[in-house]
Each structure stands twice: as structure tokens, then as C-alpha cells.
């Protein structure tokens, strides 16, 4: 299970990084989103992979999952959305101002 999980994570990071290395804003945003998923999962899994364990305390329950990474990741997801939204709008504004969606504002590709 661990190997499967980490492989998925690695693929997401690789795809995210590759997309962020593209020259246009839209693939960049896609890559950033993918990387965001991967980083959240990375943080989350540092609390280990637990199956069928609650983070809700009750007297009968003896074992719990680790709630701390979950709490941290929860806000990270929302902040991640804010960041993606910000970059999207920056990209829109840039394409409006510069007339191109190249990440460096080049009209033709000369990077």
C-alpha cells in the first residue's frame, strides 16, 4: 500500500513539475494544481496510512488516526485554492496586458 501511495505521489509531482516548466500560463496553473495535490498528500501521509480509524474521540475507541496532519492539510487545501486562484487571475491579467499567455510575456518563443 505504501509503495502504491508513494508512487502515485511521485507521478503527481513529476507531472506537476513538468507542467510548471512549460512556457504558457495555463499548463503552469495545471501543474501548480497537481503539485498542490501532491504536497497536501505528502503532508497528510506523514501521519501514516491508517485504515478505518477515526479522528473523533469516543470512550470505546482505543486507536485513532493522527489528527494533526489532517488539521494542517485541511487549511492547506483551502490556501492552495486561494493560491491557484491568484495565479490564474495573474495569468489572465498578464495576458490582457501583454497580449500573450507566455509566462515571460514573450510574443514569440525565444526562451
Amino acid at each position: 500500500m505504501e509503495l502504491l501511495f508513494t508512487s502515485c505521489l511521485g507521478v503527481m509531482i513529476a507531472c506537476g513539475v513538468y507542467l510548471m516548466l512549460r512556457a504558457r500560463t495555463f499548463p503552469f496553473v495545471l501543474g501548480l494544481t497537481l503539485l498542490g495535490y501532491a504536497v497536501n498528500m505528502f503532508l497528510f501521509v506523514s501521519g501514516r496510512l491508517k485504515t478505518n480509524l477515526p479522528a473523533v474521540v469516543s470512550p470505546e475507541q482505543l486507536q485513532y488516526t493522527d489528527p494533526l496532519p489532517q488539521a494542517l492539510v485541511l487549511t492547506a487545501i483551502v490556501i492552495g485554492f486561494a493560491m491557484v486562484a491568484f495565479v490564474v487571475v495573474l495569468a489572465l491579467r498578464a495576458s490582457g496586458e501583454l497580449g500573450t499567455d507566455h509566462v515571460d510575456g514573450h510574443k514569440e518563443n525565444n526562451s
Binding site: 502504491l4 510548471m20 497536501n40 485504515t51 478505518n52 489532517q70 488539521a71 483551502v78 515571460d104 518563443n109
Partner: protein, 942 residues
């Protein structure tokens, strides 16, 4: 307190002289401040000459060993006396020297600032305090050298001095910290008594070298000598004060101060002695060829500092005694000579010895004084310079650690003395004798008496000390040397005549040789010229600095070429290299001891789907719509994986964020090109693939290493205290709103700021969406689909109810403000999508800004509320209420905080999406007209 006031008075009073416009008042106030300090110092004299050491100490930052502590040792007293005495003379001299065009008040301010810092150095008991004053002298010296800031050479000289002495100061800080840690105290009294501890410690060599670096740079020792001649761009009073009598002596002061602890090792001898000897000879040699009067004196100063360093390096008590005596003598004649050089410059308009000549006719008194000063500098008998110089020559003859090469020291010293005589003769003969000059910028004449007075006083002292050394100088030198050497102080009788001995022979050789050198000077000048090409310290320094700047610029250009792709590639590459590097040196296996859990088929399939979709996002990224769909699938599987691994809160958050993210991307795509052109070369693509595979593979490996090792979590605390401390059973939510409430508050603030920034970026900004799609087909102009609109409208109250449920149960079951906020935002957006902005906008009249702001206000108010009742910020409290029908109900103040979170999330998400949705200029027009129409209708109805 009186003791601390000696250095503090000039520092605190520094600003006073610049308050006055009158130049006399400037000088008078500065003089008064220095005078009071001098009086305070003299009050300490009886105790000091009695062999006591007055101490005054206040605790400042005891945890780092810093005390506000001052001491007046004999040596410190002598130095403070020099600083204040010569300082007072400089105040008088500067009054006549600084012209009416220059801001004289400011000059005195800098001068007092320097005086106070310098006094601080010599009177500090705590070495950290000493260090602060040390840095202050570097800064005030920078200000003084650059006083004529409109001149390039002044600015360059000031910068050079600051870089060299400031850099040395940094080394010295490190040395002092080591010293203090080795000894266990930063108090000088303790340090000076800890020679054995220091010498036995393995860090002694490092400590010694660092401290020596600080001292050598400050005292312009080889190879740092070059900054001092260029500091001559300063006004002459500054050169006379800082760069001959006081500041440059701070380095040798420190050497002498720490002489009892640092010296006595062979390392000390092998570093300090050669540095002193080379400096002594090299600078004396250079001084002979300087045409600039001040340049000559500057190199002569460097040479004399080398002489003092050499004496300290030799390490015998009598050598240290001689060093102290020479510090005193040199200060007297060199400060005087600088003043005289300043007078010549002031009254003739030049200080170039090639132009000056025959001034005797016009300035006989100045000429006489210069002759006296140069005689002292050359070491002519009956002058003070002779006494210490002969003692020095005698010291060089003592056996030393160079073994068979011991003769180097006396020979070198004699040679330097020959040079010294030669440049002294040159200064007198070239300037005052020979044919009278005809092309001087000004008609030369004697200066006003006030300007000459300080030099007269100093030259008288030189002569009197030379004649009656035992009466005038010996008590002070004995006390000063006694405070350094303690019981080892030699009982030495300073005398003019010691009989016919080797030292006298060396003096005679120096005088005769110097005269001969001067006569042969033309030949010497020729041979010197080629040497200058390589020995110009300033040119080397400037070349080095410009090399560093150019190298930096090149490196920056290489890395910062304005291409985001390059930045990201460099960043990712650096992270991969840094992250991987520790693994290569380590023998531990990558995979830890824990066994992996088994995989069930469903999870396996989901994982494979995720991999396929993620890769498909990349493969199809040119077809942007398809890429979004693939990305959405990845996001869905991520939220499913959160459910699979026991994190329902995260799954709920992820899935609602997923919805709004995809909507956001679709809206952005509406305004951006729908396809991505092929641009990167295939080599570039392979580089990127390599880089991303390295990053992904690295993360996989890292995570595997983590997951297969046991771990220890702090979650136990949260699990135990969630119910009794936070009043909720859902630990994730209690962490968010209670344990880590402050974090959450910061996070919703970021969210709100992001919302505002996005709003600002889109405000008054229009983008026109293309009328046709990628394949050239026009967009459909249909109305919004009726079925979708009819279904989503009744859905809305249901969804809101569900959100309320999720919100309320959040404290005890999965849910909470974040998730409820996202649900509400999605359902509101759904209305916009299904019915269009024209229909929705007038029906959702609440301003999203207001919602967002209220969210923050409520969250902060909850925190402040707990403040009001005496608890720390954001402490939550809870109680149980019994409601009819509902049953027992828990009310926690955290729920109010969660409400703030909820509102902030709803407000900012809506703000972004609605703003983005209404941005297409064509749509915006429709909206504004329709809103207008509706308003008109309403008004018509009224």
C-alpha cells in the same frame, strides 16, 4: 557613574555642536564636552597612579555575558589621556582649518562621536562592549574620511577603510566570542588572568588569528596597509587625529591589552613579528617616494605602527614597555606633523612636494616646527623619538625565535630607520629649502596663531620629553606598562645616553645612511617606479572589488534572466540535489524496518487511474479542456484517497475545493487561448522530463523512507485534551478552531487578502473572450438550459440546510466552518452557472466583501473576547445547554470562531469566482444594462 561618563559624554553630546550656526560656538561646545571628559579622567589619575584600577559595572544583558562595565587601567588611562588631549588640540586646530563653506557643526559631531567610541574601546571592561565601540570607530571614521562627500577620492577612501576595518572587525567579533567562551567570561579582568586555559585550548590558534585580523586591519598592518594612505582624503584634522594618533592605534592597543593572555606562544611570535617587520620596512620604503606630504606621513604612520607591532611580537616585557613608550611618542610628533602638513596645504594650496619648495622665506615658524617634528620622527638625539627608537633597536638585538635568521630583525629595523631618516630629511628639505617656488596656488604666509598653537604645544612636548624623559614620561609609561605586564614590569631607566653600544651604532648608521639615501634620491626614484606597478594596494583593492561586482553581475545574469522556466528549473534542480545529497554519504538503507501493508484491489485500481489521469493531463496539456477534465479526475481520486485513509474532513474539503477549482479553471480558459502551441525544443523537453522524474522519484523515495520507519507523534496530547479542553470530539476541528486557532486565523486572513488582491487585479480590467472556439466554430448563443436552472433553484435551500448541518456538527463529527463555507460557495456558484449572471446577480445582493470582512471580524472578536475575560487570546470556553426537542446541546465559543471561518471562506471564494465570471466585457455589458433595467422596473413599480 563618573567613570562611564568619560566615554558617554562625547557620544551623548555629539549632537550639540551641530545645533549652533556660529563656528566659534561649534568649536567651543565641542571643546567643552571634551574638556569635561578630560576632567573626569583626571579625577581618576590619583587612583591610577597609586596602582589601583577603578571599575564601574552595570548588568546589561547578563544571559550573553554583556555588562556595561568600564575600567581605568594604567594603559587605558594613558590612551584616554592621549585621545582627549590630542582631541582638544584637534578641536582648536579644526576651528581654523575647516573652511566656512563646510558644515563645521557636523564635523565636530562626527569628531565627538569618534572620540566617545575610542574612549569606549580603551576604557571597556567587557569585551563585547569593547567590540561595539570598536565598530563605532569604524563607522565614525567612515563618516570623517568621507566628510567631503562630493569628492570621489573621499568616498572611495571612506568605503575602502570601512570595508577593510569593518571586515577585520567581523573577524574580531568571532575571535572575541571564542575567547569569551573558552575563558568562560567576557570580563577583561577574568580574561587577562586566564592565559593557561586559553593556551591549552585547541581553539587557541583560531582565536588568536581572528583577533589578530581585527587588530591588523585596524592598525593598517601588512597586507592591509593600503587603506590608510587613501584615508588621507579626509580633512587634515581627521588625519592627524584618527589616522596617526588614535584610531589606527586601536589595533596595537588591543594587541598590547591582550598581550598578557595572547602572547607567549610561538604562534604569536611567528605571526606578529614578521607582520610587524614587513610593515615597518615596506611602509618606510614607500614613504620615501610619496610626493604628497600627507601620503608620506601616512606611510610613515603605517611604518611606526609596524614598529610597535614588531615590538609586541618580540614578546619580552621590555619590548612591551618600549611599545607603550613609542605609542606615546609617536602620537605626539605625528599628530603635530600632520597639523603642520595641513597648515602648509592650507596656506599654499598644495601639499605636493614636487611643487613646494623654499617656503622658509615665507613660513619660518612653521618650518622650525616641522624640523622639530621631523627630527623626532627620524630619531635624532634629544628628541622623544630617539629614546623609544633606540630602545627598540636594542630590543631587536635580543635573541628571538627565528634562530639562525635572528639577524633579520635588527638588519630590517636598521634599514627601516635609514628610510625614516631619508623621508624625514626630504620632508624638511624639499618643502622649506631649495629655490622658492613660483607657481603655488596661493601666496604662502604664516597661519593664524590659533592654528599653529596645537602644533607648537606638541613639538614642545616632543622636545621636553626628549630632554627630561624620567621626569615627564616615565611615570605614565611605568603605570601604563605596569597595568599590562603586572609583576613582570621591567625597572627600566629611560636615558639619552646608554654608553657606546650596538643600538647607538645602529642609530648612527640610520642617520648617516638616511642622509646618503636622500642625496641619491633621484636614482632611487627611477628604480622605484617599476615596483609601484605591482605594489599599488588601492589599485589591487579596486580591481578585486570590481571583479567581485562583475562576477556577481555575471552570475546574476546567468541565473536571473527573466525566464520563469529557468527559475523553476534551477529551483527544482537545486532542491533535488540538496535533498538527495545526504543520502549518498549515508550507509543506512533507504527502506526502513517496518513492513508495508497489503494492497486491496479497489485501491490498486484507483491508484492506477490516478497515475493514468495525471500522465494524461501532461500528455494532453495542449488540449486544454481535456487537460482540465483529467486534472479534475486526479482531484477526485485524491479526495477518495482521503476517505480511504481515515480522513473524512479532508475528503469533504478536497471535494468541495475541487469543484470550485475546476469551475475557476474553466472560467479562466474561457478567456485564454484554448490550445497550447508547441514551443519547446525536444532537447528542452527531455531536460524537463529528466528534472521532473528526478523530483517525483526523489519524493517517492523520501516518502518510502519515512513510511517504513516507526514514528512518534504528538497527537496523543490533542486526542486526550480535545474533549475536556476544547469541548469537541472531532479532534481535527478542535485543533483548527481551538488548539491551533491562531494559525487558522492567519490562514483565513491570507484567504481574505488573496480575495482582495484578485479583486483589485480584475477591477477595471476587461478581456474579450474569442467569439469562436479552437476549431473555428462560433459559440452557441442559446439561453441557459432550462432543466438545469429549474433543478438547481430548489436545490439551493436544501444545500444551504446541509451546509448548516455540516457546520453545526463540525465540532463533534467531520465537518466545520471550512467545509460548510465551501459547500455554500459551490451551491451559490451553481446558480450563476445554471441561470447566468444576469439572473443571479440581482438576487444575491449581499456584497461578498462584506461577508468576507465580517468573517474576519467575528474570528478576531472571538479571540479578543477571551482576552476581555482574562484568558490568553483565542482561548475557547464551552457550556452545555438543554434545548427543548433537540436535547442536550453544547455551545462553545469556538463555534463563533468557526462562523468567522465560514463567512471568510464563503466571501472570498464568491468574490473571486463572481468577479472572474463577470469579467468578459461582452457579458459585463449585458449585466450592467440588465441590472439597470431591473432597477428602473422596480422604481417604476413604486
Amino acid at each position: 557613574m563618573n567613570l562611564a561618563l568619560i566615554p558617554l559624554l562625547p557620544l551623548l553630546g555629539a549632537v550639540i555642536p551641530s545645533l549652533f550656526r556660529s563656528r566659534n560656538l561649534n568649536a567651543l561646545t565641542a571643546g567643552a564636552i571634551a574638556g569635561i571628559s578630560m576632567l573626569l579622567l583626571l579625577f581618576q589619575a590619583p587612583a591610577v597612579f597609586n596602582g589601583e584600577m577603578p571599575l564601574a559595572s552595570w548588568s546589561w544583558i547578563p544571559t550573553i555575558g554583556l555588562n556595561f562595565a568600564f575600567r581605568v587601567s594604567g594603559f587605558g588611562f594613558m590612551f584616554a589621556f592621549l585621545i582627549l588631549g590630542i582631541g582638544l588640540l584637534i578641536v582648536i586646530y579644526a576651528r581654523f582649518y575647516i573652511s566656512a563653506d563646510d558644515p563645521m557643526g557636523r564635523f565636530y559631531t562626527y569628531l565627538l562621536l569618534f572620540m566617545g567610541s575610542m574612549l569606549g574601546i580603551v576604557l571597556s571592561e567587557n569585551i563585547i562592549l569593547l567590540m561595539m565601540f570598536w565598530e563605532l570607530t569604524s563607522i565614525s571614521s567612515f563618516l570623517l574620511i568621507g566628510f567631503w562627500s562630493y569628492r570621489t577620492d573621499a568616498r572611495e577612501g571612506a568605503r575602502q577603510a570601512l570595508v577593510i576595518t569593518g571586515g577585520g572587525g567581523l573577524a574580531m567579533i568571532a575571535g572575541f566570542l571564542l575567547l569569551g567562551n573558552i575563558v568562560g567570561s567576557f570580563e577583561l579582568t577574568t580574561i587577562l588572568a586566564s592565559k593557561e586555559i586559553l593556551h591549552a585550548h585547541h581553539l587557541y590558534p583560531v582565536t588568536l588569528i581572528l583577533i589578530l585580523l581585527g587588530a591588523f586591519t585596524k592598525s593598517a598592518q601588512f597586507p592591509f596597509q593600503f587603506w590608510l594612505p587613501h584615508a588621507m582624503a579626509a580633512p587634515t584634522p581627521v588625519s592627524a587625529y584618527l589616522h596617526s594618533a588614535t584610531m589606527v592605534k586601536a589595533g596595537v592597543f588591543l594587541l598590547a591589552l591582550l598581550f598578557p593572555v595572547l602572547s607567549g606562544s610561538s604562534l604569536w611570535f611567528y605571526i606578529v613579528t614578521p607582520v610587524g617587520l614587513i610593515t615597518l620596512m615596506f611602509a618606510a620604503y614607500m614613504a620615501m617616494f610619496k610626493d604628497d606630504l600627507k601620503g608620506l606621513l601616512a606611510y610613515s604612520t603605517v611604518s611606526h605602527l609596524g614598529l610597535i607591532t614588531l615590538l609586541l611580537g618580540l614578546g619580552s616585557p621590555l619590548a612591551a614597555f618600549t611599545a607603550v613608550f613609542h605609542i606615546l611618542n609617536h602620537a605626539a610628533f605625528k599628530a603635530g606633523l600632520f597639523m603642520l602638513a595641513g597648515i602648509i596645504d592650507h596656506e599654499t594650496g598644495t601639499r605636493d612636494m614636487k611643487r613646494l619648495s623654499g617656503l622658509w622665506k615665507y613660513m619660518p615658524i612653521t618650518g622650525t616646527l616641522t624640523m622639530l617634528g621631523c627630527a623626532a620622527m627620524a630619531g635624532v638625539p634629544l628628541f622623544n623619538g630617539f629614546l623609544s627608537k633606540e630602545m627598540f633597536l636594542a630590543e631587536t638585538l635580543e635573541p628571538n625565535l627565528f634562530g639562525a635568521f635572528s639577524w633579520i630583525v635588527p638588519v630590517g629595523a636598521t634599514l627601516a630607520a635609514v628610510f625614516a631618516v631619508a623621508y624625514s630629511i626630504r620632508m624638511v628639505h624639499d618643502v622649506f629649502f631649495k629655490e622658492p617656488a613660483t607657481d603655488l596656488p596661493k601666496k604662502p604666509h604664516e597661519p593664524p596663531h590659533g592654528m599653529r598653537l596645537p602644533a607648537e604645544i606638541l613639538m614642545t612636548i616632543c622636545l621636553l620629553v626628549g630632554l627630561f624623559p624620567m621626569t615627564l614620561a616615565a611615570p605614565m609609561v611605568n603605570v601604563a606598562a605596569g597595568s599590562i605586564l603586572g609583576a613582570a614590569t621591567p625597572d627600566y631607566h629611560i636615558a639619552i645616553w646608554h654608553g657606546l653600544n650596538m643600538a647607538l651604532a645602529m642609530s648612527v648608521i640610520a642617520l648617516a645612511g638616511g642622509a646618503m639615501f636622500y642625496l641619491q634620491r633621484l636614482r632611487l626614484f627611477d628604480s622605484h617606479r617599476w615596483c609601484m606597478r605591482y605594489c599599488d594596494g588601492k589599485a589591487n583593492f579596486e580591481a578585486f572589488i570590481s571583479g567581485v561586482v562583475q562576477g556577481g553581475r555575471k552570475l546574476t545574469g546567468l541565473m536571473e534572466n527573466g525566464s520563469l522556466q529557468r527559475y523553476i528549473a534551477l529551483l527544482v534542480g537545486a532542491v533535488v540535489v540538496l535533498g538527495a545529497s545526504p543520502f549518498f554519504g549515508s550507509s543506512a538503507p533507504l527502506i526502513g524496518p517496518l513492513a508495508m501493508s497489503s494492497v486491496d484491489p479497489v485501491t490498486l485500481v484507483m491508484g492506477l487511474v490516478l497515475i493514468v489521469c495525471a500522465v494524461a493531463t501532461v500528455v494532453h496539456h495542449r488540449n486544454r479542456i481535456l487537460a482540465i477534465i483529467m486534472l479534475g479526475t486526479v482531484g477526485l481520486i485524491v479526495s477518495l484517497s482521503f476517505i480511504r485513509f481515515s480522513a473524512p474532513d479532508l475528503a469533504l474539503t478536497q471535494i468541495s475545493v475541487e469543484v470550485v477549482t475546476i469551475i475557476l479553471l474553466m472560467m479562466a480558459l474561457h478567456l485564454l487561448p484554448r490550445t497550447t502551441p508547441v514551443e519547446s525544443s525536444s532537447a528542452r523537453r527531455w531536460r524537463d522530463i529528466l528534472l521532473s522524474v528526478a523530483a517525483g522519484g526523489g519524493c517517492t523515495a523520501l516518502m518510502m523512507a519515512v513510511l517504513t520507519r516507526p514514528y512518534d507523534t504528538i497527537a496523543g496530547y490533542f486526542l486526550e485534551n480535545s474533549k475536556p479542553g476544547g469541548g469537541g470530539t472531532n479532534v481535527v476541528n478542535v485543533i483548527l478552531v481551538d488548539f491551533r486557532g491562531f494559525d487558522t486565523l492567519g490562514e483565513i486572513t491570507v484567504l481574505v487578502i488573496a480575495g482582495l488582491v484578485i479583486y483589485a487585479m480584475l477591477h477595471n480590467f476587461e478581456l474579450t473572450a474569442p467569439k469562436i472556439d479552437a476549431l473555428g466554430r462560433p459559440w452557441v448563443q442559446d439561453r441557459f438550459p432550462m432543466i438545469l436552472a429549474q433543478i438547481t433553484r430548489p436545490l439551493m435551500p436544501l444545500a444551504l440546510l446541509f451546509a448548516a448541518y455540516i457546520f453545526l456538527r463540525g465540532h463533534n463529527e467531520p465537518g466545520g466552518g471550512f467545509i460548510a463555507g465551501l459547500i455554500v460557495a459551490s451551491v451559490l456558484i451553481l446558480q450563476y452557472i445554471s441561470s447566468g449572471i444576469v439572473w443571479t446577480r440581482p438576487r444575491l445582493t449581499v456584497d461578498n466583501h462584506i461577508i468576507m470582512a465580517w468573517g474576519l471580524v467575528i474570528a478576531v472578536a472571538t479571540g479578543v473576547g477571551s482576552w476581555m475575560v482574562g484568558y490568553p487570546f483565542l482561548t475557547s470556553s464551552f457550556t452545555y445547554l438543554k434545548w427543548p426537542l433537540v436535547g442536550k446541546f453544547e455551545v462553545a465559543s469556538a463555534i463563533a470562531f468557526d462562523l468567522g471561518v465560514f463567512l471568510a471562506v464563503v466571501g472570498s471564494v464568491m468574490l473571486v469566482l463572481v468577479k472572474l465570471g463577470s469579467m468578459n466585457s461582452a457579458d459585463a455589458e449585458i449585466v450592467s444594462t440588465s441590472v439597470q433595467n431591473e432597477k428602473d422596473e422596480q422604481e417604476g413599480a413604486h
